[in-house]
């Protein structure tokens, strides 16, 4: 049985005082609200959308022990469906995003059903291959998707409220609740009885099976839920950019999000946010810096993290914090 061993699930942290339990979300919320003041608003939205994407992946990787290398399929297909709904029906964008997310879940059902029959390495490769299939379909079906040119001119309707529709600064605040809801949902799933079963499957599948849990069914449901959250993020991303490119479906997008999740810390949820923030900011800064080897930096950092800091940035910080906390107490 393959299992990500080094990353404990959000431990029921006895070390954490009730105050701290509120401080962290409050700080996160403040950061999310302040973000578009600090960085360019569309970039800020990219960060939050990708953070939800990474959290959705972490739901599988950190809490179910399944590394999906094909999540671009759900991110991208939701982006396309969201874009198509917005273009053809002119509905307010949250509705279009919801449609995209539902589509991603429907797509995830057969893919998840087949993929969860394998685990570990096999699961990673199988999901990758399925995502490639979805990519080629999106690519060939250019009447619908615009093929290489992408889906251009996706409108941003929001009940006729002009600032939101035209100004990316206000749009950020209109879209933020959707993404935060997605994150809250991920948190709920992880801390529900269902989430505990997932963790027990991750840690010891035969035992979970012996206890009478239908392991494949639990994994499939987790897969579909993860795809749905990914879809929310992908849909918002599409509306924010006003168009959808084929790269959203490409396997490199799947690779990018794995990178963010591992960088931030597997099995921490917060790590996804940190990972997304770091990667997007790095890409953004490098784009106009005159240095053109972004993969050199991300790749090397990634290797270092995998070799030396397998808890990821967030995981390492939290680990140090908890150690110091428990050292001081007695």
């Amino acid at each position: 049985m393959t299992v990500i061993t080094e990353a404990p699930a959000d431990a029921p942290a006895p070390a954490r005082t009730p105050a701290l339990r509120w401080i962290l979300p409050a700080a996160g919320l403040t950061a999310a609200l302040a973000l578009p003041w600090l960085v360019y608003p569309p970039v800020a939205l990219d960060i939050v959308a990708l953070a939800l994407f990474a959290i959705a992946l972490d739901l599988l990787l950190g809490y179910t022990g399944l590394l999906s290398f094909g999540h671009a399929a759900f991110w991208g297909s939701s982006a396309y469906v969201t874009g198509l709904i917005a273009t053809h029906y002119g509905v307010p964008f949250p509705l279009a995003v919801l449609g995209g997310a539902v589509f991603a879940m429907i797509l995830a059902l057969p893919i998840g059903y087949v993929s969860v029959r394998r685990s570990g390495i096999y699961f990673a490769m199988v999901t990758l291959a399925f995502a490639q299939m979805v990519y080629f379909i999106g690519y060939q079906w250019s009447d619908l998707t615009g093929g290489e040119n992408g889906l251009q001119g996706v409108p941003r309707s929001f009940f006729g409220i002009e600032p939101v529709e035209t100004n990316s600064f206000y749009f950020y605040y209109a879209a933020l609740p959707i993404l935060l809801c997605g994150m809250a949902a991920a948190w709920r799933i992880v801390h529900s009885p269902f989430g505990r079963v997932l963790v027990s499957i991750r840690d010891n599948t035969p035992r979970a099976r012996a206890l009478g849990y239908d392991v494949d069914r639990y994994k499939t449901i987790a897969f579909v839920l993860s795809a749905g959250l990914t879809g929310l993020a992908g849909g918002v991303f599409a509306i924010s950019h006003g168009f959808v490119a084929l790269t959203e479906l490409h396997w490199t997008t799947s690779g990018d999000v794995v990178l963010m999740t591992v960088l931030g810390g597997i099995g921490t949820l917060w790590g996804g946010i940190v990972g997304a923030f770091l990667t997007v900011m790095l890409a953004d800064q490098l784009a106009s810096s005159g240095f053109h080897g972004i993969d050199l930096i991300t790749g090397s950092v990634f290797i270092l993290v995998v070799l030396l800091f397998r808890r990821g940035v967030w995981g390492t910080v939290r680990h140090q914090w908890q150690r110091r906390g428990s050292a001081r107490r007695p």
């Binding site: 394998r118 299939m133 379909i137 050199l296 990634f302 995998v306 397998r310």
Partner: protein, 290 residues
């Protein structure tokens, strides 16, 4: 009829690259339990090395087919000692992630050093032109690629079945628990086997150099198809990797000839079917399902 024969040979020639590289991937997975995401990058490095050898030292393809595997073997050993070995005791996913990061770095380094437009390569005169086999006209080089890779695969097979090293590797690959139970020290072979697998990917790259665009990105699509190949063949199976390599080549060629729109999807459809019907792959051990 001649057309079908022609497509078949072309498919097998294209499959040669997959078979050689997948063989390397399978051996590495067998002995180390590592799915080497960087295999496509090693294939690319093989082609780039061949091009650089030709450009700087004037070594033609004949010499490259010898020199590239040797160099890539050494490189593989370095990578294993420096990076891969530290994660062998952990979940195999970590090495998948590590080699993914390594791929990004290698591709970017080649881009920085050799640019993005690709490197030139010239075929030795003896391999140019066409041959006429009873009405089936084929580029000579394609035929050469096919025969050469079949030869290599056969050689590897001989080594695997006749030599002590081969038996150990095969035992470790196909019956890991049994090998350990019999007290075979697999650990000693980890580094050379990784080097060997990398050398095979490099050899496939050198063989592709006269035939394919030599760019930093040439391995990325290749790697994805390679994954499909080993899933179809069965990850733990050496024979499976080779057979599936040629099979995927054929699917690709006939797909391109008769349904070009779906040529690329076909490979993945085949893979999905295999997973549904035989989750462990065509030649894999069924108990590896879980």
């Amino acid at each position: 009829m001649t057309a079908i024969l022609q497509y078949a040979v072309q498919g097998l020639a294209a499959g040669s690259f997959y078979a050689l590289a997948a063989l390397g991937l399978a051996v590495i997975f067998g002995v180390l339990g590592v799915v080497n995401f960087a295999h496509g990058a090693f294939y690319m490095l093989g082609a780039v090395t061949a091009a650089v050898l030709l450009d700087t030292l004037g070594l033609t393809l004949w010499w490259s087919l010898l020199a590239v595997p040797v160099l890539m073997f050494a490189f593989g050993v370095v990578v294993e000692r420096l990076l891969v070995q530290w994660l062998l005791r952990l979940d195999p996913l970590y090495n998948l992630l590590l080699t993914f990061g390594l791929t990004l770095v290698l591709v970017e380094l080649v881009k920085q050093r050799y640019g993005v437009s690709g490197l030139p390569y010239r075929l030795p005169a003896g391999l140019q032109g066409r041959v006429d086999l009873a009405g089936v006209v084929l580029p000579r080089y394609q035929l050469f690629v096919l025969l050469f890779s079949v030869l290599i695969c056969a050689l590897v097979w001989l080594v695997m079945t006749r030599s002590r090293i081969g038996m150990i590797v095969r035992a470790a690959t196909e019956k890991p628990d049994l090998a350990r139970a019999l007290g075979i020290n697999v650990g000693r072979w980890v580094t050379p086997v990784f080097g060997f697998g990398v050398a095979l990917a490099g050899l496939a790259g050198a063989l592709a150099a006269p035939f394919r665009a030599i760019t930093a990105d040439m391995g990325s699509n290749f790697a994805i198809i390679l994954f499909a190949v080993v899933v179809i063949g069965g990850l733990g199976s050496i024979v499976g990797a080779v057979v599936a390599g040629f099979l995927v080549g054929l699917v690709e060629a006939f797909g391109q000839a008769y349904a070009p729109t779906f040529a690329q999807i076909l490979i993945f459809v085949l893979m999905a079917l295999v997973i549904l019907v035989r989750p462990a792959g065509l030649f894999g051990r069924q108990e590896a399902t879980a």
